[in-house]
Amino acid sequence: MSKQALVEVRGLKKTFKRKDGTVVEAVKGIDLDIYRGEVFSLLGPNGAGKSTTISMMSGLLTPTEGDACIGGFSITNQPLEAKKLLGVVPQEIALYPTLTARQNLEFFGRLYGLHGRELAASVDETLEFIDLRDRQKDRVDTFSGGMKRRVNIGVGLLHKPQLVYMDEPTVGVDPQSRRRILDTVIRLQQDRKMTVLYTTHLMEESQELSNRVGIIDHGQIIALGTVGELIQKVGEEDRLVFNVGEQPISEALLARFQTEVPGVTKATYETVELKPVAGMEESAELVVEKRSTGQMVVVRSGQVKDGTIVVYAKRGRKALPDLLRIANEMGVDVLSVEVREPDLEAVFLHLTGRALRD
């Protein structure tokens, strides 16, 4: 891949003034280049400033400072030229709910300057691409969340731009639809040779899709590079995550892990209060989101704590039998174990001391 920058972002800042007079520095000065043909992802927790950055890069918000250029056109000074090169898929579903999928696409296509036959062809092609040809005459408000997301993406692709920004396109969709959307991104890059800026708070998505990742936190890029480059920053250690539920865990156990098992550098114990999902307080089983992994799990009603022991080890899989034996000797029943090779989650944890989902 030739390293020719299609997008150049320099010193981008955005300060919001709230009504009560407080000032929010949502984006504190971002510099980055996005190369032609790559998928670049902005990975960061909610509120990190991803949407604000994309909004400034697409001409929706005026930067407090700095500028972004697309194909050499400044988004603040030559907005019309810059916007022609760009498709945007906002985080929100930005569609007319009472119009049909086709009517939505046709309208936005006109705003991109398409007409007549060219417009019809482009709408057909887009409907094909997002696999909604047979539902094109249905109103968008009759669609499932995943289908709306697909139309939302389709609108950004109508004028066949070289570049598309996608702001958390998988938020609020079922796993199947999410898979579909991720595949769409891959197709955009491989079949259409497009450049994609993709934001997410899910490190798995970043890791799978991107050529390069920028990790963003509190309005700043705190790390930038390929996934491999970023992971190297945290070294080679695996993380072993033991789920122990509500059982009490003694300091002695953690001490034995560190002293008796070769390769272990650190062992910590954390608990999380389990709160039932709103509306589920009365049911016998609770669905809760586990903080450690972000998965939705079902637990017994009445269980109030979710305890995890996290062990850092050089070669995690080799250390595992010893760790389990010691736990058994100490009378701790391990409910589940996960061995996590170094990933972007670990990078974020390493850089900020917080989990991505906090």
Binding site: S55, G59, A94, Y96, Q103, L111, V155
Partner: protein
């Protein structure tokens, strides 16, 4: 321009997708137009607004004075003589008070009546004697401007005076004719003779067509303004106002559903988006007028002889509302807040400006106050055409006032407008 048009067409498409539009654009306005029209006199001629109230003091109480008054009503049937013609509905709006000259003066300055007419005690005698008669006529009209009442009065006085002169001429001709025995035996005979000639002369006058231009429009049978001639433009204008002003919400809604933000990321200037939205509102306003006047035409309502003048007012008033919608859009923060604000604005400006009843029947101070409402300028224009037979020239001042207001409001709105 292309993109502005696309935005407008899309906006209209979205608007008409919502079934409730038929309720607010067609059904409710038509029902209200119909009932207000009926209340204002419905299909019958005259209509509350067309009445010309004249406070009358007949100090003479002779046959001649009674006839003068009766003739006034023949020449212009819209004239109502107060208190003589007062009825159970209190058309004279006396509220049970008896009419004194002081009260009449007040009513005239308040604009409650068109004119005051005083017939002095010696009117009949003087007229018959061929002496100059004096009738006291006061109106709000500037001197030199002939109102419909004065026109009628002049026509009637001409007849009365003409007949009286003829009688006198007849007597003198008879006496000076030199014919043998051409003398009256006594004064009674002389009076009878004079009376006969007077009656003949008056009869001749009455057989001639009335020399009053005002009644021309009344002569075309069935082509008279009715209660609906007031309610169609009045209620129509009120609903145009709400239909267009609702436009201040359009951007709020589009922001909420993020379509506005999406458009801002596309190669289209934000001003084009807003212009398209406002164009759509303007079109909706004109559709609203078309619905109201179309309904009127179906009912066979008379709207004057100058459709062009009416169209001109409609266009300019709708334009003015569109500018206000844009201005309101820069203020409103929530749909709830906007909803109550709009109700308030419409419910104050519409009646104040004469959309519910003609401003001509309210006191002068209320008429003056009413002209703060753009509705008054539109309604005055409509009434000039429909009730007073005016053409394009008669509405030019109203059109200019509304255009000036539109320009000012538009400039303020554009200055206040923010896209973020």
């Amino acid at each position: 321009m292309d993109k502005i048009w696309s935005v407008a067409v899309n906006d209209l498409r979205v608007s008409f997708r919502d079934r409730s539009i038929w309720l607010s654009l067609v059904i409710i306005p038509l029902v209200i137009i119909f009932f207000i029209g009926l209340a204002n006199g419905g299909f019958g001629g005259g209509g509350g607004g067309a009445r010309l109230l004249v406070d009358t003091f007949d100090q003479d109480r002779s046959d001649l004075s009674a006839e003068l008054l009766a003739n006034l009503k023949v020449v212009n049937p819209d004239i109502m003589l107060c208190p003589a013609d007062n009825n159970a509905d209190d058309v004279c709006r006396l509220n049970g008070e008896s009419l004194t000259e002081a009260l009449a003066t007040g009513r005239l300055t308040d604009g409650m009546v068109s004119a005051t007419l005083v017939i002095p005690p010696d009117f009949g005698a003087k007229a018959l004697a061929g002496e100059p008669v004096n009738v006291i006529y006061r109106s709000q009209n500037a001197t030199g401007q002939t109102g419909p009442v004065l026109q009628a009065l002049q026509a009637v006085l001409q007849r009365t005076g003409g007949a009286a002169v003829a009688a006198r001429v007849g007597v003198e001709v008879f006496e000076n004719s030199g014919l043998v025995g051409a003398t009256f035996r006594d004064e009674a005979e002389r009076t009878t003779f004079r009376q006969e000639i007077y009656d003949t002369a008056r009869q001749t006058w009455n057989d001639l067509p009335p020399a009053v231009t005002f009644s021309e429009s009344a002569e075309k049978e069935g082509r008279k303004p009715s209660g609906f001639s007031q309610s169609v433009p009045g209620i129509g204008t009120m609903y145009v106002m709400s239909t267009v002003l609702i436009g201040c919400l359009v951007l709020l809604t589009e922001r909420k559903q993020w379509t506005f933000q999406r458009m801002l990321t596309m190669p289209v200037a934000p001003g084009q988006v807003v212009a398209g939205k406002m164009l759509a509102r303007f079109v909706m306003g004109m559709i609203q007028y078309a619905v109201a006047f179309g309904f009127g035409l179906i009912l066979g309502v008379y709207f004057g002889d100058s459709p062009l003048a009416l169209l001109l007012i409609m266009v300019v008033f709708t334009l003015c509302c569109t500018a206000f919608a844009l201005l309101l859009a820069t203020f409103v923060k929530t749909e709830m807040q906007a909803g109550s604000l709009l109700n308030l604005v419409v419910l104050i400006l519409a009646p104040l400006g004469g959309a519910w009843w003609p401003l001509e029947i309210v006191p002068q101070w209320m008429q003056t106050l009413g002209h703060l409402s753009p509705v008054a300028w539109a309604m005055e224009g409509f009434r000039n055409v429909i009730f007073h037979g005016g053409g394009v020239a008669s509405v030019i001042p109203n059109v200019l006032v509304l255009l000036a207001l539109t320009a000012v409001v538009f400039l303020i709105a554009v200055r206040r407008f923010k896209y973020e």
